[in-house]
C-alpha cells in the first residue's frame, strides 16, 4: 500500500488521464481478489459475498468520478463494500451458524484450506470481539496501514493501534502462543 512519492505522482498522472472505463477496469483488476477474500470471510456465504460485491462495484462505478486519487482506491472501495454489507445485513438479518458449523461450511463450500492449523487460526479470529477483529482483518486481509484503517473505521490511529495490539494478544492466547508477561497499553 505504500509507494514512494515519485511513484504516487506518476500513478496519479496516469490515473487522471484514464477514462472512466479504464479506471473501473483497473479497480477490478487491482482489488477485486482482495475484496472477495474479505467479503467471503465477512459474509460466510458465497452467494451473499458475490451479491454484496456486485452491488458494491455497481456503486463504485456510479460514483467513480468522486475518487480523485489512485492511491486511495482500495480504501474507498472497502468503505463502499462495508457500507453495502451493513445495509444488506440490516435488511436481511442473516442466520449465522455457530463457529464449528461455520468452519465445516467453509471447508466444504467456500474452498478454504482445511488443514487443522488453518481451522485453528480461523476459529481464533472468529472468537475475537468484533471491535478487535475488524482492524486485524483489514490489516491482514486487506493490507491496510494503521492510518488507512483509522480512516475507513473513522476512529483515531491510536485507537486502531490499541485494538490491533489486543487482537493479536488475544489471538496468541487462544492459539497458545502467548507465554510472556502482561503487556499493557497506554490507557488500558
Amino acid at each position: 500500500m505504500k509507494n514512494s512519492g515519485k511513484e504516487i505522482d506518476s500513478d496519479q498522472v496516469n490515473y487522471d488521464m484514464m477514462d472512466k472505463k479504464r479506471k473501473y477496469a483497473l479497480l477490478i483488476e487491482a482489488h477485486s481478489q482482495d475484496l472477495y477474500k474479505y467479503a467471503l470471510w465477512l459474509c460466510k456465504d458465497k452467494n451473499m459475498a458475490e451479491d454484496v460485491m456486485q452491488e458494491a462495484f455497481l456503486r463504485a462505478w456510479k460514483s467513480l468520478d468522486s475518487l480523485r486519487e489512485a492511491k486511495a482506491a482500495k480504501g474507498w472501495l472497502f468503505t463502499i463494500f462495508r457500507r453495502e454489507h451493513a445495509r444488506q445485513f440490516e435488511r436481511k438479518q442473516f442466520d449465522y451458524k455457530d463457529v464449528e458449523q461455520m468452519d465445516t461450511i467453509a471447508d466444504g463450500n467456500m474452498g478454504y484450506d482445511d488443514r487443522p492449523e488453518a481451522f485453528a487460526l480461523r476459529n481464533a479470529l472468529i472468537k475475537l470481539p468484533q471491535e478487535y477483529r475488524e482492524p486485524l482483518e483489514m490489516q491482514v486481509l486487506g493490507g491496510f496501514s494503521c492510518d488507512e484503517i483509522a480512516t475507513i473505521l473513522d476512529i483515531s490511529s491510536s485507537a486502531v493501534m490499541t485494538r490491533l495490539f489486543r487482537a493479536r494478544k488475544k489471538m496468541r492466547q487462544i492459539l497458545g502462543h502467548e507465554t510472556m508477561p502482561h503487556l499493557g497499553v497506554v490507557g488500558e
Binding site: Y24, I28, L40, Q54, E117, A118, F119, L121, F165, V185
Partner: protein
C-alpha cells in the same frame, strides 16, 4: 547499543510488534537488529499473520469477475437508453454478442459459451426488458388474475397457482418470440421471468448475461427464462415457479 535503540526497550518493542509487526519506525527496526529475543518474537507474529492470511485464501469465481466487468456495460446502456433508445437496442445486441463469447459461466457449472438457442431466448427477453425498463407493479390479486387470463389465451392447459409476490404479467413480443412476461418480488430483489412456447432447449443453463444472472430451462412444450440481479433471488423465484406452474390434463 546506539542511542536510537535505547529509546525503545523490549516492552515497547513488543507492544508495537503486536500493533504493527511491519512497522517502519527506525527505532523498531534497530531494536530488532540488536535484540535476538525481540526479533524472534516479531517473527512469530509475522508468521501468525501470514498463516492467518493463507488460511483465508480463496479464489474469486470467474463468473463474478465477468459480472463486475459488465456493470459498466449495463450502466452505460441504461444511461443512453433514455436519450437514444434506438442506439441502446443496438448496443444491447452488441453487448449480448460480446458477452456471450466469454461470460456465459455457469455459477453452478462451467458452461463456456451460450449456444445459439439459449442466446436467442435470453437476447429476446433482455432486449424486451431494456425496451420496457419501467415494468408496472400491480397488486398480487390483479397480477394473478391477469396471468391466468393470459395463459388461457397463450396455452389453454397451462395454469399458475396464486403467488403472493407476483407483480405483473402480460403477453409480450420478446425478440423473435411472443410469450408470457411477468415479474416477482423476492427478499433479494425483483425477478423477471418469461415462458416462451416452442422448441425446448436441451438442458438447464445458468449464465451471467448482460449484467444479469439468468436461467433458461425446458418446461413442457417451451422454455422458462428467469432473470435477476442476484443468485439468491433467482433461486427463490425458480423454486416458487417450479411449484406454481402446472398443466391441466
Amino acid at each position: 547499543m546506539n542511542k536510537e535503540v535505547e529509546k525503545m526497550n523490549c516492552l515497547d518493542f513488543k507492544r508495537l510488534a503486536l500493533s504493527d509487526p511491519n512497522s517502519s519506525e527506525p527505532s523498531f527496526i534497530l531494536h530488532s537488529k540488536n535484540c535476538p529475543d525481540c526479533l524472534k518474537y516479531v517473527g512469530s507474529i509475522r508468521k501468525m499473520d501470514s498463516d492467518l492470511s493463507s488460511s483465508l485464501d480463496v479464489q474469486m469465481p470467474e463468473s463474478l469477475m465477468a459480472r463486475l466487468e459488465l456493470n459498466q456495460v449495463l450502466q452505460e446502456e441504461q444511461k443512453s437508453s433514455s436519450k437514444f433508445r434506438q442506439y441502446a437496442i443496438a448496443a444491447s445486441f452488441a453487448a449480448a454478442l460480446f458477452v456471450s463469447g466469454f461470460v456465459a459461466n455457469n455459477f453452478y457449472g462451467s458452461n463456456s459459451t451460450i449456444e445459439h438457442d439459449y442466446q436467442a431466448l435470453l437476447a429476446g427477453v433482455v432486449e424486451h426488458m431494456n425496451e420496457q425498463p419501467l415494468t408496472p407493479v400491480w397488486d398480487s390479486a390483479k397480477a394473478n388474475e391477469s396471468v391466468n387470463t393470459h395463459l388461457a389465451n397463450y396455452d389453454g392447459n397451462m395454469k399458475m397457482k396464486f403467488l403472493e409476490n407476483l407483480q405483473f404479467s402480460r403477453l409480450c413480443p420478446m425478440g423473435r418470440y411472443v410469450g408470457l412476461h411477468a415479474s416477482l418480488e423476492t427478499p433479494d430483489g425483483q425477478v423477471t421471468f418469461a415462458y416462451i412456447k416452442g422448441n425446448t432447449v436441451e438442458d438447464i443453463l445458468d449464465a451471467s448475461y448482460d449484467g444479469f444472472v439468468t436461467r433458461v430451462k425446458p418446461l413442457k412444450e417451451g422454455n422458462l427464462i428467469i432473470i435477476s440481479r442476484t443468485n439468491n433471488a433467482l433461486k427463490v423465484a425458480d423454486e416458487q415457479l417450479e411449484k406454481a406452474i402446472y398443466w391441466e390434463t
